[in-house]
């Protein structure tokens, strides 16, 4: 197997290691160190994809992140990944790449018919065409567009790889290891600063790997190697390749994407695939270099057309020729280096230079080597469909808008250079307003916004000498401020070729009667005529032109197209480029995987799981769990083939008839201590707290300042200055913050401390008519009579040798107690209760039964306290003190809160006593009324009343108390149900509350 376009010696690849891979099913090989692109080009393959809109044949254009065309579906290491940049992805054994956006194959793509219908697909085509009729959008237009706008296909397999996040801090982050980046990192490291040097590519050195320069008598590549190995040996320096800093965020936080193991054939189980670094840097050096921009000409998207620097990189880094009969089309000197490189490899290039005949160091060298140079020349149109075969070239008149002579020359590739665009993405993301630099026809960073310092080509300095000088100076000065050490470094001697001035020429004119497509944005198929149409149709702002034409909106973010687009707009509009402005640069710089963003927060690690100390028991006893925030709570304990409905009915019934126990550990618990604790509670709760004696609990209601109920719960006075507050499971964290707010900010004069003790206590409720009997067996030495331990009483006692707290409080409405022991004893307590409770018919009950019990008692919970209700709405106005002030009191006087017809809590039962009423149903007068049917209220909670053996619901209803006895409809369009209901009191069972006091 020979590789027709591989050079014999050149390049940095490892020729001792062959790597086999497939492309569109064809078996090929490359070498270790190749990218997919370099290996394909070495094999003479250029046609790799079809364009987005017109399905035109596309080949490689660049050699790195700038690549707009060569996006492949790649399978490797068990992944299938779409839209992989072939110019960046390193070759690994067994990799298989396929072309995207073509059917049935890249060679014969039916979609290419769009190319011949292109007069029907101008800019704004979708906006104009798919508008009417409106009903066609979802069923016809959208699916069609989605299918046609094909990039790759995302895998539906579960991603088995490991992704990691890492947080790092440093004095100086250097982004890019070209000459200016290396110099900055080196100078800062010598000053003792903590430095991170990040390089996107596998190899360090940037342009030093491809430019014909020497530093201190070493070649650029050798000098880079020397600096890197010295940096690697320093303990204060982290050097990372395959790591792209893609985003610059607030307060100097930068995010880096590291490709840890995609290039490895074998790796250990715990090696992540990719890693996301959050780097907080004190100072940042942006040495991201520049990207060559093309000159626009006819059919400039034909496979075989390259950026000239990319062609040079393929030769110098990969030992690959992009063609054997190259045309070099340039407006500046840098492309002459590519021509000289071809010449060195015995390939004869022709240089077409848009400038008039003149002289410079590089031009003279090319001349002396006998290279065919044609001044005032350019490519008008490339010929060839799937590969360049020849080019029509023209000699430009002095006005550069017409031709003196036109001829056709044979070629197999065209290397184009329209000068250089600094990569200012990170600087712009930091908030830096860019400024237009006339000298280089591009934007460069302006005044610092955060701590970003751009150096080298990223700052518009295109000579090695200047880049190194800026790098050393800035690296040294920025780090010296942090480390207060300054090590003198002498700036090395540099040998480089001097460039002459470039030509401000960016788009080739067309001869009369010729109208080939001239592409500005390859990836989104935006041509010169599309931009002209947008402007003709009245789009002026560059942001509007961008959105209408999709210029620069593809995944390459217009790296090779933005400036040419701006130039075109400025020419047509007769404005200078800075007046046109530029579009916004947004992270990420290149696409990154979703897996990396997610990191390890998947599956069980998505959020913490909170388990009570009794969790294992619940598991063993067939509990079906429900999520309550991060907590897992038993919803019901399944016996045999029971359904949720059957099990919860059984459990609730058993509480009403015998006794049940419920794990209430998840309730929020807050310890409140201090001499002013009573006064504080008196301000926090709506009811009176000053006279609560030690050893007593009280139910309390707290409001927000706007009068809306925030939370409820019981608080117990443990001792003189010590209270134990409980909150609902859901509000525990909010209530703690709320209390801390008032103690720290509003009433700092109160001497009170609060701390969460939720996890310190395990809690179990014992509820039911037989609960006292059971309690007396649990505490044989304690007097638990109604006199000794009355409703809302509190006692501390030993629970089989373990200290415990007994609260006589009830949520179920039955005679009930809550026992708390330290968490470590939770399981012991629970098992003891199950053992002792046997003779009383004790059964555990879950949250579903718990809800049933509280709903039929008319006790409110989350669904009623939904952030919209005030105390009187939920029949809790008895708890609102008229005598004292408290949080939110002043709001209760608001007019809307006191109108007669205000919503109130009521109970609902179905007329047929059978149909369950879906939660969320709307209450309406007439189920057949015309929409919108006036809503009188909504169903907040529903249950099957075990006491009365029929459905029962709580509802919040307009003027509710006056509706009792009336009939309405509860309608749920979601469940397609309409149920006739009667309004009754919300207290369906034991309205006098006798049981809890029995």
């Amino acid at each position: 197997m020979s590789q027709p376009f591989r050079l014999n010696k050149e390049g940095l690849i490892n020729r001792n290691k062959k790597i086999s891979f497939t492309f569109n099913g064809k078996k090929l090989f490359g070498y270790e160190g190749d990218t997919i692109a370099s290996a394909l080009i070495a094999n003479g393959i250029h046609l790799v994809g079809r364009s987005f809109k017109y399905h035109r044949p596309r080949g490689f254009f660049g050699a790195g992140v700038e690549e707009p065309n060569a996006k492949l579906q790649v399978e490797f290491n068990g992944h299938s990944e779409p839209n992989v940049n072939a110019t960046e992805m390193e070759l690994v054994e067994g990799l298989s790449a396929t072309s995207q956006n073509c059917w049935p194959s890249v060679n014969f793509d039916i979609g290419a018919i769009n190319n011949f219908l292109k007069m029907f697909f101008p800019a704004g085509f979708y906006y104009k065409t798919f508008m009417w009729p409106k009903s066609f959008w979802y069923k016809i237009y959208e699916p069609f567009i989605r299918k046609a706008a094909g990039l790759g296909v995302a895998s539906i397999e579960k991603d088995k790889e490991r992704y990691e996040h890492k947080f790092e801090y440093c004095d100086l982050l250097v982004t890019g290891s070209g000459p200016s980046g290396l110099a900055s990192a080196y100078a800062a490291a010598k000053n003792g600063a903590k430095v991170i040097l990040a390089e996107d590519k596998p190899r360090f050195g940037g342009t030093l790997l491809t430019d014909d320069v020497s530093i201190d008598n070493l070649s650029g590549k050798d000098w880079a190697e020397k600096i890197i190995s010295e940096l690697k040996s320093m303990p204060n320096v982290t050097v990372k390749n395959r790591s792209q800093v893609f985003g610059y965020y607030d307060h100097n936080m930068l995010v880096m994407f590291e490709r840890v193991s995609d290039h490895l054939e074998k790796k250990s189980k715990f090696t992540p695939r990719q890693r996301l670094w959050y780097i907080r840097a004190k100072e940042t050096i942006l040495s991201t270099g520049s990207i060559e921009r093309p000159i626009v000409f006819g059919n400039n998207d034909t496979p075989g057309i390259f950026l000239s620097a990319a062609a040079k990189e393929y030769m110098k880094v990969y030992g690959v020729l992009v063609g054997k009969k190259p045309l070099i089309f340039t407006n500046n000197d840098s492309a002459y280096e590519t021509a000289l490189e071809f010449k060195k490899n015995n390939v004869e290039p022709i240089i077409l230079d848009t400038r008039e005949e003149h002289s410079s160091e590089l031009i003279d060298e090319a001349k002396s080597k006998g290279i065919d140079i044609r001044f005032s020349h350019g490519v008008i149109v490339a010929n060839g469909y799937k590969k360049v075969k020849s080019a029509k070239i023209g000699k430009l008149n002095k006005d550069k808008n017409s031709f003196e002579k036109i001829e056709t020359v044979d070629c197999d590739c065209i290397c184009v250079s329209g000068f250089w665009t600094p990569s200012v993405h990170l600087a712009s993301q930091s908030g830096n307003k860019l400024k237009y630099e006339e000298k280089i026809d591009a934007f460069i960073p302006d005044k610092k916004k955060q701590h970003e310092t751009s150096v080298g080509a990223a700052n518009g300095s295109f000579t090695l000498e200047e880049s190194l000088k800026h790098g050393f100076e800035n690296g040294s000065n920025l780090s010296a401020k942090i480390t207060e050490t300054k090590t003198e470094i002498s700036i090395p001697n540099v040998n480089e070729k001097k460039y002459g001035a470039h030509d401000k020429f960016w788009c080739m004119p067309l001869p009369k009667n010729e109208n080939p497509k001239r592409f500005v944005d390859f990836q989104n198929d935006v041509s010169v005529s599309d931009i002209e149409i947008a402007l003709r149709e009245g789009y002026r702002s560059i942001e509007h032109v961008k959105r209408y034409t999709t210029l620069g909106m593809a995944t390459d973010q217009g790296r090779t197209s933005n400036l040419n687009g701006l130039q075109l707009v400025s020419n047509i509009e007769n404005k200078i480029v800075p007046e046109v402005g530029h579009t916004t640069f947004r992270p990420p710089f290149t696409p990154i995987t979703i897996g990396t963003i997610v990191g390890r927060e998947v599956g069980m690690e998505y959020m913490p799981t909170r388990k009570t100390p009794m969790h294992e028991w619940h598991e063993k006893n067939n509990a079906v769990f429900v999520d309550a925030g991060a907590w897992k709570r038993p919803r019901y304990y399944k016996q045999g083939n029971e359904t949720l409905f059957e099990a919860s009915k059984r459990e609730a019934k058993n509480v009403r008839e015998n006794v049940g126990i419920c794990d209430v550990t998840t309730l929020g618990k807050i310890d409140i201590k201090g001499p002013d604790a009573a006064e504080f509670l008196n301000r926090v709760y709506t009811n009176a707290w000053m006279k609560l004696p030690v050893g007593k609990a009280r139910y309390g209601l707290m409001l927000r300042e706007d009068g809306i109920v925030m939370d409820d719960g019981t608080t117990t006075r443990i001792s003189e200055n010590h209270y134990h507050m409980t909150t609902t499971t859901a509000q525990a964290a909010n209530v703690l913050s709320h209390l801390e707010y008032y103690l720290q900010i509003v009433w700092p004069e109160l001497n009170v401390n609060v701390v969460s003790t939720t996890e310190q206590w395990a809690g179990a409720a014992i509820a039911g008519p037989k609960s006292r009997d059971m309690l007396s067996k649990l505490y044989p030495d304690l007097d638990v009579s109604n006199d000794a331990l009355p409703f809302m009483g509190y006692k501390e006692a030993e629970f089989f040798g373990v200290p415990s707290r007994i609260f006589r409080i009830s949520f179920s409405g039955e005679l009930a107690y809550e026992i708390n022991v330290k968490s470590d004893h939770g399981m012991f307590m629970w098992e003891k209760m199950m053992e002792v409770g046997k003779e009383f018919g004790n059964q555990p009950y879950g949250t579903e039964a718990l809800s049933t019990l509280r709903i039929e008692m008319g006790h409110v919970a989350g669904p009623e306290l939904d952030g919209r209700t005030i105390p009187s709405d939920v029949s809790l106005n008895g708890l609102v003190s008229k005598k004292k002030d408290f949080i939110g009191k002043n709001s209760l006087g608001r007019e809307a809160f006191n109108v007669e017809s205000r919503q109130k809590i009521v109970g609902l039962i179905p007329i047929d006593r059978k149909s369950s009423i879906p939660e969320g149903s709307h209450i309406v007068q007439d189920q057949n009324a015309k929409l919108p049917n006036p809503k009188l209220g909504h169903v907040s909670s529903s249950c099957w009343s075990v006491e009365n053996n029929n459905p029962f619901s709580l509802a919040i209803m307009k003027d509710g108390k006056n509706m009792i006895g009336k009939k309405f409809f509860a309608v749920s369009p979601l469940k397609n149900k309409s149920i006739e209901v009667e309004v009754i009191s919300s207290h369906y069972v034991d309205p006098e509350g006798k049981r809890v006091r029995s």
Partner: protein
Amino acid sequence: MLYIKCPYCGLRAQKEFSYGGDATVKRPNINEEVSSEDWDNFVYMRKSPRGKHIELWQHIAGCRQWIKVQRDTATHEIFQTAKVTEEIR
């Protein structure tokens, strides 16, 4: 992600904090008469300035202290942080 200097713990990532609104709002004194206009202003009316803003943050995943932060609402620049008992001017 902002980098907030907790006056008790030092520089910490925004992840550790939760936002608490305008720090210049003063709650009317407890047990004192307040006109409904003053009360409504306290409960509902907030300025939403573009630029410098003194606000409350709580270091919930740290020392749990409420702190004052003077921040530019447009650029996110933080000029000063202080304990709630201290003044920011």
